[in-house]
Symmetry: C2
Subunit: 107 residues, 2 copies
């Protein structure tokens, strides 16, 4: 199987990998998958400051991974594509198996 081109991998990195490259953004993504929420609801739920949440949402929004919709003074965010959660869940499964394999090698 051929190796994907550098340009595509560069895009993949910038648009997707980098977006999930922060724990707080991963938390936000799961919280939005649970249900759409507005900024301060996320801040309360995840115990982050409002500016921190807002900046992380901006990162996700710029990559079109979340969608913002204004509702009065509040802005409600939702996931643009739930397959992003599929990706994260696949990673979690891989993590579990990898940790197990690593544990077996130690023993």
């Amino acid at each position: 199987m051929a190796i994907p081109g550098t340009d595509e991998l560069q895009l993949l990195h910038e648009q997707i990998c980098q977006a999930v490259g922060d724990v707080k953004r991963i938390q936000i993504l799961y919280a939005l998958h649970d249900q759409p929420r507005h900024v301060s609801a996320l801040a309360d739920l995840l115990e982050m400051s409002q500016p921190t949440v807002s900046r992380h949402l901006a990162v996700l929004r710029e990559r079109a991974l979340v969608v913002a919709e204004r509702n009065g003074a509040a802005v409600v965010y939702r996931l643009a594509d739930s397959r992003l959660i599929d990706v994260l869940n696949l990673m979690r499964q891989l993590l579990r198996d990898t940790l197990e394999r690593r544990a077996n090698m130690m023993s």
Copy 2:
């Protein structure tokens, strides 16, 4: 659906997300999926310096995402679990659709 615990997401970030958080590591992973290769073969193929390749391989090795096997003076690396490529390919598909959706919104 419940939101995964903070500890698990922290692990996910450190062990998987961070590992794919660099373009060169992504290139290395695809090159190893194509076939096992030793360090300097990767350096030649991907046009990176030998120390750069070695450092990136160390990152992947510490997380048990690649496996090293010595072959004479050379060290051959291979993917520990090809599902990591599944994850990356799923991201690529998501990227394609996301870019398309974003392009449609512009027009």
